[in-house]
C-alpha cells in the first residue's frame, strides 16, 4: 500500500467528509469535517483489511488566523498488524467547539481527549469523564490557544497571596534574612522586633 492509498480509501468512502488530502515529508494526512469522525474512526478500526487498532496520538492544534477553521483535532492512527500509518485532521470551528469522542473505540483516547479539552477547550461529546487533567480544576482559560496571554494576564495564580504571606511570616526562621546583610551569618533571628 502506498502513501496515499488509505487516504484515497477514506475519500472514496466518505467523499463528502474529506476536505483535502495533504502530504508532508512522506506522511499523509486527511483533513476531515468533524461530523462523522466517530463513524470513520470506527470503520478504520474495525475493517479487517485496515485494522487501525493503535491510537498513537490525539491532540488539538489552534490555527488562529492561519486557517478559516480555527481548531483541528489530530488523530495519528497506526495499524500494528498492517504496519500502516494515517493521520486524520478533523476541523473544529471556534463557534461550534465540540466533536464526538472516540473513547468508545479506543479506551486510550480518554486522557488524550481530556488533555485536549483542558488545553484547547474543545468539547468531546460522549466522553465519560471530561474534566481538566493537567491544570487545576478552577483554572481559567485554555493555555495552548494562541490567543492565551503569555504573561498570565497580569493576574497572580490562586493562592499567591497566601504563599507570600506565609513566607513573610516564616522568614524569621530563615538562616539568612534577605532584609539584612547576606554576608552576615546571623542564624536564628527574629526580625519582627
Amino acid at each position: 500500500m502506498g502513501l496515499l492509498e488509505i487516504a484515497n480509501l477514506i475519500q472514496e468512502r466518505y467523499p463528502d467528509q474529506v476536505i483535502k488530502i495533504v502530504t508532508c515529508r512522506g506522511q499523509a494526512a486527511v483533513i476531515l469535517k468533524k461530523d462523522k469522525i466517530l463513524e470513520i474512526c470506527r470503520w478504520l478500526h474495525d475493517d479487517p483489511s485496515l485494522q487501525f487498532n493503535h491510537l498513537a496520538d490525539l491532540c488539538g492544534v489552534d490555527y488562529l488566523d492561519k486557517c478559516d477553521v480555527r481548531f483541528e483535532v489530530v488523530y495519528n492512527l497506526y495499524s500494528i498488524p498492517n504496519k500502516k500509518r494515517i493521520r486524520l485532521r478533523a476541523q473544529v470551528p471556534e463557534d461550534d467547539c465540540q466533536i464526538d469522542s472516540v473513547t468508545p473505540i479506543w479506551l486510550g483516547a480518554n486522557w488524550h481527549e481530556r488533555e485536549c479539552y483542558d488545553l484547547f477547550g474543545i468539547k468531546f461529546n460522549g466522553h465519560p469523564d471530561l474534566r481538566r487533567i493537567l491544570l487545576p480544576e478552577d483554572w481559567e482559560g485554555h493555555p495552548l490557544r494562541k490567543d492565551y496571554p503569555l504573561d498570565g494576564g497580569g493576574k497572580n495564580w490562586r493562592g499567591y497571596d497566601e504563599v507570600i504571606e506565609k513566607a513573610k511570616r516564616l522568614s524569621k526562621y530563615d538562616f539568612y534574612n534577605k532584609y539584612e546583610d547576606p554576608t552576615k551569618k546571623t542564624g536564628l533571628k527574629d526580625v519582627s522586633k
Binding site: 495533504v22 508532508c24 515529508r25 506522511q27 494526512a29 487498532n53 493503535h54 491510537l55 498513537a56 496520538d57 491532540c59 492544534v61 489552534d62 492561519k66 489530530v74 495519528n76 500494528i80 504496519k83 500509518r85 493521520r87 485532521r89 479506543w106 479506551l107 486510550g108 483516547a109 480518554n110 486522557w111 488524550h112 488533555e115 488545553l119 487533567i133 493537567l134 491544570l135 487545576p136 493555555p143 495552548l144 503569555l150
Partner: protein, 409 residues
C-alpha cells in the same frame, strides 16, 4: 487472586459490595511508591481496591507551550526534562522528529552514536525501573545493585555530553560531540560485564517465591485491551503484542543491527518484568554491534540548521578548490522550513515517545505535541488496579514504569 475479583457493577456510590462504607485513601502526591507526584484516590473495600482514580498534573510545566516560542534547537533541552531518568533517549527522539520535519539526514556515524546512547539510555531507564520496582515490592538490595551499574552508565554520559542527567547531547542533524576512545573502551568493557550483573539481579528476585507470588497473575491485561488502551513499549509487549517502533518504523542505525523484541504471553506484572529483563540483554548486544560497526565520518549533517538563527537558515557554502580565489558560492536550494505537519515516534525505555510537529514555515514549531508513554500508561492504571489489593497497586505502578516528568510535561 484474580479469581476473587469483585463484580464492579454491584458497587454503587460510596458503598461496598455488601453495603458497608468504602475506605477512601489518597495515595500521593507525596508517597514513597508513586514515583514522583502521582496521586491516586483509592476506594478500598477492606484491602481490595474498588475504584482507583489517578490525578496528574502536579509537574505540569507547559513544555508544549514553551516550545512554541523557541527555535527547534532551543527546545531540545526541554526534552531532557521529560523522562529525566533516560534523557538521552528523549534527545534522540526529538532530533529524529525535527530532522524528519526539516528534511535533514544525519550522517552515518552520528546515527550509530545515537543508537548507542539511546540503548544506553534504555539501560539506565530499565535499571532505575528494576531498582524502584524491586524496592516497592520490598527487595531493597536490587535497588543498590542497579544503581551501581547505572552510575557507570551515567559516568559515560558525562564523558561524552558533559552532564549526567540533563545531557542535551544530540542536535538537529547529528550529535554535538564525537565519542572518545576512552568512552568506547569503557562501554565495551561494560557490555562484557553487564550480562553477569543482570544474572545477579535475577538470582535475587527472578525465581524467588515471594517475588513470584507478588507479580504472577497481578495486573493482568489482555493483548487486545492493552492495544486499545494505547499501552506501548514493554508494557504492551508483556501482553504479547509485537509492536516495537525500532522494528516497525526503524530509525537511526536500528535497521543495520540484529536484535530481537522480547514478547510476553500473559500480560501480568511478571511478564512485563521479564520483557524488560530480556531487553537488558538485547540492548547490550545492540550496543556491542553498534560499537563494532561504527564508521568514521562527520558527526553533524552539513545542512543542519544553525543553533542561533531562526528565520534565515544558513546556506550551504561551497568554495572553489582554491580558497584564495575568493569565489564562494552560497547554495540556496534547500527547503528546511516548510509548512506541514509530521508525527515521528521513537522507542524510548517507557514506550513510544512521539513528537507531532506543526510547522508554519518558520524556525519555531507552530505546535509541538508530545505523545508521552507514561501519560497513557497512568491513564490505563485503573484498568490494571481495580479488583486487586493495595499492595498490588504498587506492583502495577512499578511494572508500568511511569515517570511523572514525562507524564505531566
Amino acid at each position: 487472586m484474580s479469581a476473587n475479583k469483585p463484580d464492579l457493577k454491584l458497587v454503587k456510590g460510596n458503598k461496598g459490595s455488601e453495603g458497608q462504607e468504602l475506605f477512601t485513601i489518597a495515595m500521593g502526591p507525596q508517597h514513597p511508591a508513586t514515583h514522583g507526584v502521582l496521586k491516586l484516590d483509592l476506594e478500598l473495600d477492606g484491602e481490595t481496591i474498588v475504584k482507583c482514580k489517578p490525578t496528574v498534573g502536579f509537574l505540569h510545566r507547559g513544555v508544549e507551550k514553551l516550545a512554541e516560542s523557541m527555535t527547534y534547537a532551543q527546545a531540545l533541552p526541554l526534552t531532557d526534562r521529560l523522562d529525566y531518568i533516560a534523557s538521552m533517549a528523549n534527545n534522540v527522539a526529538y532530533s529524529i522528529a525535527v530532522e524528519t520535519l526539516l528534511g535533514i539526514e544525519a550522517p552515518m556515524r552520528a546515527k550509530y552514536i545515537r543508537t548507542i546512547v539511546m540503548e544506553m539510555a534504555r539501560l539506565t531507564g530499565h535499571l532505575l525501573w528494576l531498582a524502584t520496582h524491586a524496592l516497592d515490592i520490598g527487595a531493597m538490595t536490587v535497588f543498590l545493585y542497579c544503581f551501581r551499574e547505572r552510575e557507570d552508565l551515567l559516568d559515560m554520559f558525562e564523558e561524552i555530553s558533559g552532564a549526567r542527567l540533563t545531557t542535551t547531547y544530540t542536535c538537529v542533524g547529528g550529535v554535538r560531540q564525537d565519542v572518545t576512545a576512552h568512552f568506547l573502551e569503557t562501554l565495551y568493557a561494560f557490555t562484557e560485564e553487564f550480562p553477569s550483573r543482570v544474572k545477579e539481579y535475577e538470582t535475587l528476585i527472578d525465581q524467588n517465591r515471594i517475588w513470584l507470588e507478588r507479580t504472577k497473575d497481578i495486573g493482568v491485561i489482555t493483548a487486545e485491551q492493552a492495544v486499545n488502551l494505547g499501552l506501548t513499549g514493554p508494557s504492551l509487549r508483556g501482553s504479547g503484542v509485537d509492536y516495537d517502533v525500532r522494528k516497525h518504523m526503524p530509525y537511526d542505525a536500528y535497521p543495520y543491527v540484529d536484535f530481537e523484541v522480547p514478547i510476553g504471553s500473559k500480560g501480568d506484572v511478571y511478564d512485563r518484568y521479564r520483557c524488560r529483563m530480556e531487553e537488558f540483554l538485547q540492548s547490550n548486544s545492540i550496543i556491542r554491534q553498534c560499537i563494532e560497526q561504527m564508521p568514521p565520518g562527520p558527526i553533524r549533517a552539513e545542512d543542519a540548521p544553525d543553533l542561533v538563527m531562526e528565520y534565515n537558515p544558513p546556506k550551504k557554502v561551497t568554495a572553489d578548490s582554491t580558497l584564495t580565489s575568493g569565489v564562494i558560492k552560497l547554495i540556496d536550494d534547500r527547503e528546511h522550513y516548510i509548512e506541514g505537519d509530521v508525527y515521528v515516534a521513537a522507542e524510548v525505555p517507557k514506550g513510544e515517545l512521539g513528537f507531532y510537529f506543526v510547522s508554519d514555515g518558520h524556525g519555531r514549531p507552530y505546535r509541538m505535541h508530545i505523545r508521552s508513554p507514561s501519560y497513557i500508561h497512568i491513564g490505563a492504571l485503573p484498568y490494571l488496579c481495580e479488583g486487586y489489593m493495595v499492595a498490588d497497586v504498587i506492583a502495577n505502578i512499578g511494572s508500568l514504569d511511569v515517570v511523572l516528568g514525562e507524564c505531566d510535561r
